[in-house]
């Protein structure tokens, strides 16, 4: 049986370093998630308005995000904007900007979808019962929208965590980069480290995302609209 290079993970502080690397990518995604959830909801509400200028702007924004790979956006912000405007941008900050830009659009689209899925008769029944506009919103529309929205936005969180693995490409030292460093450092003592380390990174991402997906799936089932 060949050596699988798993022992490398337990040498010195290697395991701890990997976890710290994972935390770097989780931190970026959590900041971006927080920004996206708040701003995205607001933009999503804006998108349901029938004002033509707002419609064109939000539509254009959504299409840009839909068609551009996140990696291209990262390059545009990290290499392009610094070149054009001459400022100095930290790679982590660039990542937060890009993932928020992307996340806001995704969240806005989910919010819009959830809002327009509320059937018209709900509004009309509320009006017939004599509820005011604000009451209709807080008592009828928001509770129903949240039920549809929460599972979808939890799914968005896992997608954002997965996408932050890209920050390695603009030089942020996160879990994959740390893995590479560990492999390089142990090249002679355990030449098979690549297998063990990348398998561990694979597993770490899985352990970070899987519980969140399970929660989303569970809520989706529980709150399914008949």
């Amino acid at each position: 049986m060949q050596d699988l290079g798993i022992d490398v993970l337990f040498k010195g502080t290697n395991g701890q370093r990997l976890l710290e690397g994972l935390w770097v990518s989780l931190r970026i995604s959590l900041i971006a998630v927080a920004i996206s959830l708040v701003l995205g909801t607001l933009v999503g509400i804006l998108m349901t308005k029938k004002q033509p200028v707002i419609r064109i702007l939000t539509r254009g924004y959504l299409e840009i995000v839909r068609f551009m790979p996140q990696m291209v956006l990262l390059f545009i912000v990290f290499f392009g904007s610094t070149r054009v405007f001459g400022w100095d941008l930290d790679a982590e900050l660039a990542a937060v900007i890009v993932f928020s830009f992307w996340g806001v659009a995704e969240m806005a689209d989910l919010t819009r979808g959830a809002l327009i899925s509320i059937p018209k008769h709900q509004y009309e029944s509320a009006a017939a019962l004599g509820l005011t506009g604000r009451q209709t919103y807080f008592l009828i529309v928001i509770p129903q929208t949240l039920r549809r929205l929460i599972p979808l936005s939890i799914n968005l969180i896992t997608r954002m965590i997965k996408t932050t693995s890209l920050v390695m490409m603009i030089g942020v030292v996160e879990v994959l980069k740390v893995g590479q460093q560990i492999i390089e450092a142990n090249r002679t003592s355990s030449p098979n480290a690549a297998f063990g380390v990348y398998a561990a990174v694979f597993l770490l991402y899985f352990l970070a995302c899987w519980p969140i997906s399970l929660i989303a799936k569970h809520l989706e089932k529980r709150w399914a609209v008949a």
Binding site: M68, M71, F75, F79, R83, L166, F195, S213
Partner: protein, 219 residues
């Protein structure tokens, strides 16, 4: 912005587009295959295979493609399984895509009304005929928007191939920026070439959606 520079880069980007396109579509075709089989195994609750399919879907839906590629490209050779970069790209994309396609297709399968299946049986169709003539066409037509979204998602994901040294669009742009420092030109070309690749898919998707979507089956 220097148009001469842009022009001299065009052939390189053209080549990269072709590579991205080739690997992307091969991966996507395979992912449809994997997705169909996995979804059917899960939907018809085939013992053992069903659990395996579940594990596969959860594993690949909850990890990033970049990590999967690193594992395939750098990790597996240590077990003696050497794959070249292109094959790794295709395989990685197919496995990731398969997990997504399976979920999309399975939710399509669950929307097929029971009355449709029962009517088909009462007309004397065999199990295989019911699957081929009733269940599959209905499920596919319902799943089309999901498939389109997945295809666009997968084509976008090809941008991480550069990490395993495949000369795709991203790699070419990064390489040229590093060599000649013409950042603006390269990034503009990059955006344009991704649009060339993705816009037709989006149009085709909405065309197909209109074409095969009927008012609802068995309502």
């Amino acid at each position: 912005m220097n148009l001469e520079v842009v022009q001299s880069y065009l052939p390189l980007f053209g080549k990269a587009l072709w590579l991205t396109f080739r690997i992307g579509w091969l991966g996507i075709l395979l992912s449809f295959g994997i997705g169909f089989v996995t979804a059917i195994v899960r939907h018809y609750k085939v013992p053992v295979l069903r659990q395996l399919a579940g594990i596969y879907i959860e594993l690949f839906r909850n990890t990033p493609l970049l990590v999967q590629l690193f594992f395939l490209y750098f990790g597996l050779p240590k077990l003696g399984l050497k794959l070249n970069a292109e094959l790794c790209g295709i395989l990685g994309l197919a496995l990731l895509g398969g997990a997504y396609m399976a979920e999309t297709f399975r939710s399509g399968l669950t929307t097929v009304e029971k009355t449709q299946i029962e009517s088909a049986y009462s007309l004397g169709m065999s199990r295989w005929q019911v699957l081929r003539l009733v269940v599959l066409p209905e499920a596919v037509s319902v799943s089309i928007p999901g498939f389109t979204a997945n295809v666009i998602f997968l084509l976008k994901e090809t941008s991480v191939f550069s990490a395993i040294s495949l000369m795709d669009l991203m790699f070419t742009a990064k390489d040229l920026i590093g060599l000649y420092y013409k950042t603006t030109e390269c990034l503009t070309l990059l955006v344009i070439f991704y649009l060339i690749m993705l816009l037709p898919v989006s149009f085709l998707g909405s065309y197909l959606e209109r074409r095969v979507r009927h008012a609802g089956f068995g309502d």
